[in-house]
């Protein structure tokens, strides 16, 4: 009888311990569904109206003084907040790479922080290097040709 009692107590303790270990942050993963529905009631009505009246725009709704948009302050979601990176000193990124090479790429990369601009500088660097190599060998061929090697 005593043995049974000890076993039962141990089992209860184990269950509590396991639950205790696993108890965590589930309450953080909750929100008030009713409050959210109330908050979005006007937008839900507008959404339904727009979906029924295909092709309708916000401008046309405002122009016709539609009550669904009255009292709602709309924000333009596509207003550019960060202008696209201008190349350093207004000189195209291609020429930064083409003339100054790797340093030009670094300048473009750190100043614009823009992948597309950096790609342009890289293209410039590759083309600039190729042109330089061709000119270099062309010059030597010309020198050696004049010296009577060919």
């Amino acid at each position: 009888m005593r043995m049974k009692k000890t076993l039962l107590t141990s089992l209860i303790a184990l269950v509590i311990a396991v639950n205790g270990v696993f108890a965590g942050n589930a309450e953080l993963f909750t929100y008030d569904q009713d409050q959210l529905n109330n908050e979005f009631a006007d937008l839900n009505m507008l959404e339904n109206y727009v979906k029924i009246n295909e092709g309708i725009t916000l401008t046309s709704l405002i122009n016709e003084n539609n009550p669904l948009v009255a009292g709602i302050s709309f924000v333009n979601p596509f207003n550019p907040a960060i202008p696209f990176g201008e190349p350093p000193l207004g000189i195209p990124s291609f020429w930064w790479g083409c003339i100054i090479g790797v340093w030009g790429i670094a300048v473009v990369y750190f100043v614009t922080e823009d992948k597309e601009e950096t790609k342009q500088a890289l293209k410039g660097c590759i083309i600039g290097t190729l042109v330089w190599v061709i000119l270099y060998f062309g010059f030597y061929v010309w020198i050696l040709g004049n010296a009577g090697w060919f």
């Binding site: 270990v21 696993f22 108890a23 965590g24 942050n25 589930a26 953080l28 993963f29 929100y31 959210l36 908050e39 979005f40 006007d42 937008l43 839900n44 507008l46 959404e47 727009v50 979906k51 295909e54 092709g55 309708i56 725009t57 916000l58 401008t59 709602i72 302050s73 709309f74 924000v75 333009n76 979601p77 596509f78 550019p80 907040a81 960060i82 202008p83 696209f84 990176g85 922080e113 823009d114 992948k115 597309e116 342009q120």
Partner: protein, 224 residues
């Protein structure tokens, strides 16, 4: 004859066992957002091809326009004419569309970031994993808690380095399209001090691997 059938089965078996390879997804999208003073409603259709890497939104409301996100640039077109080009974070890699196609939605693609799993707990029907940023990022980034329910992503909680909650996101109403599970509703809360922004995104009419609509999946971008 038997040999031919066996060869055919052997060739088709991996396809049958591992299912389809998904590379394209499209669907109707509605985004509703509310903050203290302003509201926003956006309705349109999205197109994403993970091989092309362009996330295209063909928007019909509030005004007709097209948004294209590629790498770190967001292109804005009105009547097929480029209206603006803005720098943004790379929206494609961590978009729900890419994570779903790459089968990484369950941990929100965190495995491929500077975050590492610190702890995994079970709480009721949720399995909650705690992700911490690497030491060099701890000054600017806080913990992220990710919960899954029935082996599907349920919610994410973003914290700042001080441990305060700065954002919550919930993934609900899953649908299965051609074997791929996709949440039809996302609810997001962003907290900045005592101000809160709530956002509800819903998806509908989802299609996978549509080989038509090339115009949208590979929307032409201006050459620089």
């Amino acid at each position: 004859m038997v040999l031919r059938i066996l060869v055919l089965i052997t060739c088709l078996l991996p396809k049958i066992v591992f299912g389809q390879h998904f590379f394209r997804i499209e669907g109707d999208i509605t985004v509703k957002e509310k903050s203290d003073l302003q509201s926003q409603l956006t309705i349109g259709r999205f197109y994403y091809d993970k091989n092309i890497g362009k996330l295209v939104y063909h928007i019909t409301f509030p005004e007709k326009q097209v948004l294209v996100s590629k790498d770190t640039v967001l292109y804005h077109f009105i009547a097929d004419t480029l209206n603006s080009r803005t720098r943004s974070f790379d929206m494609t890699k961590f978009s729900i569309f890419n994570l779903c196609l790459e089968n990484q939605l369950n941990n929100y693609g965190m495995e491929n970031t500077f975050y590492k799993v610190e702890d995994v707990d079970k709480d009721g029907d949720l399995v909650i994993s705690t992700w911490v940023p690497g030491k060099s990022h701890q000054k600017y980034f806080g913990k992220v808690l990710i919960s899954t329910k029935d082996n599907r992503l349920f919610g994410i909680i973003f914290m700042n380095p001080e441990g305060e909650i700065v954002g919550k996101q919930f993934f609900e109403d899953y649908t299965v399209v051609n074997g791929l599970a996709f949440p039809k509703r996302m609810v997001k809360f962003t907290y900045m001090g005592d101000k809160q922004t709530s956002q509800i995104t819903t998806f509908d009419n989802l299609k996978l691997n549509n080989l038509n609509e090339k115009k949208y999946y590979d929307y032409p971008l201006p050459a620089r």
